[in-house]
Assembly symmetry: D3
Amino acid sequence: MSENKSKRMAIYPGTFDPVTNGHISLMERACHLFDSLTIAVSKSAGKSAMFSFQERLDMVKQASGDKSMACELKVIGFEGLLAELAQREKAVAIIRGLRAVSDFEYEFQMALMNRKLARDVETVFLMPSLSWVYLSSTIVKDVARHGGDVEDLVPTNVVKMFEQKIK
Amino acid sequence: MSENKSKRMAIYPGTFDPVTNGHISLMERACHLFDSLTIAVSKSAGKSAMFSFQERLDMVKQASGDKSMACELKVIGFEGLLAELAQREKAVAIIRGLRAVSDFEYEFQMALMNRKLARDVETVFLMPSLSWVYLSSTIVKDVARHGGDVEDLVPTNVVKMFEQKIK
Amino acid sequence: MSENKSKRMAIYPGTFDPVTNGHISLMERACHLFDSLTIAVSKSAGKSAMFSFQERLDMVKQASGDKSMACELKVIGFEGLLAELAQREKAVAIIRGLRAVSDFEYEFQMALMNRKLARDVETVFLMPSLSWVYLSSTIVKDVARHGGDVEDLVPTNVVKMFEQKIK
Amino acid sequence: MSENKSKRMAIYPGTFDPVTNGHISLMERACHLFDSLTIAVSKSAGKSAMFSFQERLDMVKQASGDKSMACELKVIGFEGLLAELAQREKAVAIIRGLRAVSDFEYEFQMALMNRKLARDVETVFLMPSLSWVYLSSTIVKDVARHGGDVEDLVPTNVVKMFEQKIK
Amino acid sequence: MSENKSKRMAIYPGTFDPVTNGHISLMERACHLFDSLTIAVSKSAGKSAMFSFQERLDMVKQASGDKSMACELKVIGFEGLLAELAQREKAVAIIRGLRAVSDFEYEFQMALMNRKLARDVETVFLMPSLSWVYLSSTIVKDVARHGGDVEDLVPTNVVKMFEQKIK
Amino acid sequence: MSENKSKRMAIYPGTFDPVTNGHISLMERACHLFDSLTIAVSKSAGKSAMFSFQERLDMVKQASGDKSMACELKVIGFEGLLAELAQREKAVAIIRGLRAVSDFEYEFQMALMNRKLARDVETVFLMPSLSWVYLSSTIVKDVARHGGDVEDLVPTNVVKMFEQKIK
């Protein structure tokens, strides 16, 4: 109701190694619910990372920029606690995609911890498009490493980055 | 961004037989994310219903009215397809509480069907407060039927309605 | 290898109240794996049944007959133990669709019991098409009862039967 | 350590409609952990009950009496809240068998509620023998109703009771 | 029906590090359903691999050869995309064992991806014998590493290979 | 009943990297059920370990010693098979905390394997306090590494050890 409320911001965190069509679809959905969306690319992406932090940051910026989104979109890098970032940015929500049961358990645990660390930030679970339900960054890397075609699975700019990596 | 967007409405559907502290907590959370919240009380509540439609409607109105919510709140009755109601009311989101795995599966299925029936309405899953995670209307009725104390589990007005029912 | 083996038969049991596009898709998939498929329509369909046994039998016959299947297809009614039917019909496999976690648990239990009752019959789990993953007879009936459109969800002949029922 | 502690009592509640080999196996396991075990047969067994309260009580008494158990065993009937019974009987634990995921969720919810109602009583989950993992009273009744052989699934006295029921 | 159909081939892929009694049991089950079974041993087995590719290949060949199987059995090594291998070999099915919920989620995702990559190949889920339900290569390696007895868990030739490794 | 029975011992194994308030709560619960509790700290804690074996051993001893427990408590280190340790120590039970579905699956598998290796030792699953349900050693380390406050999550002595580690 207040001025402040009419500008609600949500954060969508991830490693995006790489960003997939499933991620893009989730951004579009989140954009219908909030006034602005901050995509927070995690600096560290674990040992199995294929793309560097800079590559992932660029990749997400380009892929999300190619789409006309229904809200203000910002892409940032981050390290440290997500809950603190959310508070600092005055986000009202943390966006998480919900895919499967094993996902759900971990997400539930993370969400409870984040609520403890940042009381005012709600974790909001959205469902990816049915078409991307089998998609994960891990499975996409697996397909690409084995010479499979990833054109239907990731944005065009990521296809090109894969071609350079795999060569 | 647009005028329209700054007045986003969400629907929180349920049978509320009876409304519990968990439901109330979810309403409060949803109210931080949207400009207005329509609580849609389902006319039919199955064979194991304890309270009539009118009782459930009154109960939810009173219980939610006792709290100062951070958004406009409306309580309505409904029958028919939820997806159609959501479209008719121009809701951007359907709110669902997410408690457990079995919940999740059914909710996932419902959300996919609702997305098919109403493309523009996103199902948004929120987590109840940890304190109410073990709560369900069914378990509350069970406790009340066996003479257990439900004071900590449901709003005050529902406690009274239970006392009248059980006598 | 033996003559016998080259004519492997599978049974696909269900209540089919009503048969959905998901069921039809599973029949097509099973037909690629076996020489013949016997669809066994259960006489009893529980209290929430909408269609009579005869209606369900006819409905499945017509819906499966409308498709050109890659194997011999037979539709029969049955009551009694599925395991005994499978042995009597010399089936090598019982076909089950696998949708979700809650499904899985029950299916696992049933499959173990059926293996105990009929050692030679293997329960074979197949995945429905992604497009029908949210479909169940229950949810279809729910949509139809509330006046929703089921044209994309069930075969044409079932759409007509719904129209007659609901009127 | 104290006198009192060396006489720990556990309660194993259920509808036992009917008692199965899985239940008996769980009683034996619980008896190795506690000094005495009270089997609490619930008076009400829902609409799908096959055996009366008296039949279920007798059935459990006979079946458990046929086995030499490693602890004191008592069979009682109960209605009302399990948590209150547990407190009244000074039980330190409520025994629950853990079979599957769907089980687990419901059990978790019940255990949290019981802990709220009776702080001093711990819910203890035990795993049934692998051989009985597919067993449930519901599936046993299903097999029996359809003329299947239940000899390997339930104690001898229950086999006889089934024969009389089904006739 | 066609000549082609009466010679249906299935692929059973895995790392088999090591092959367990559960794997052998699944091969036997799959052999009752198909005319021939190709066991595809993955070249890469991850960082926690205990046996080399050649050892795993030999181990599977010997262990499966010791059993008289009901179908033609072939053991091959493979790298690259399973879906492509399946298409190249004209398999009608990919065999997967289904053990637990966490399994199921990952398997479901893989199966959907494989279906996308190879439309004509069906993923077929079979249930291991109840006796091997707790078995996994990981848990077997764990037992062996800690000096536990694995004789009941893996084929005889694998027991010997463990003895040489662990020494 | 026998002398022997009145002194029942349970083992609570873990890596405790670090010990959390959830672990301490589970120790207290287990102590109400058994005469003595042996906390077995695993020597190896995997690659992602933060604390050395000696640190973890000291940490558990101090944290559990700070609480007055309702039973005899012993803290030991162990390597090798848990099942063998349990038998050697004449434990009647292995205590495991049950948190989530993914937990449950793995725990179930481990429990079945341990039962195979040590028939007389029952795996007993207990539920942590609701307040610690979101807690795991992994998530605690994550919070600490990112400079978050862990005071409410772990015993006081662990807070200090974290401060020294992170500096």
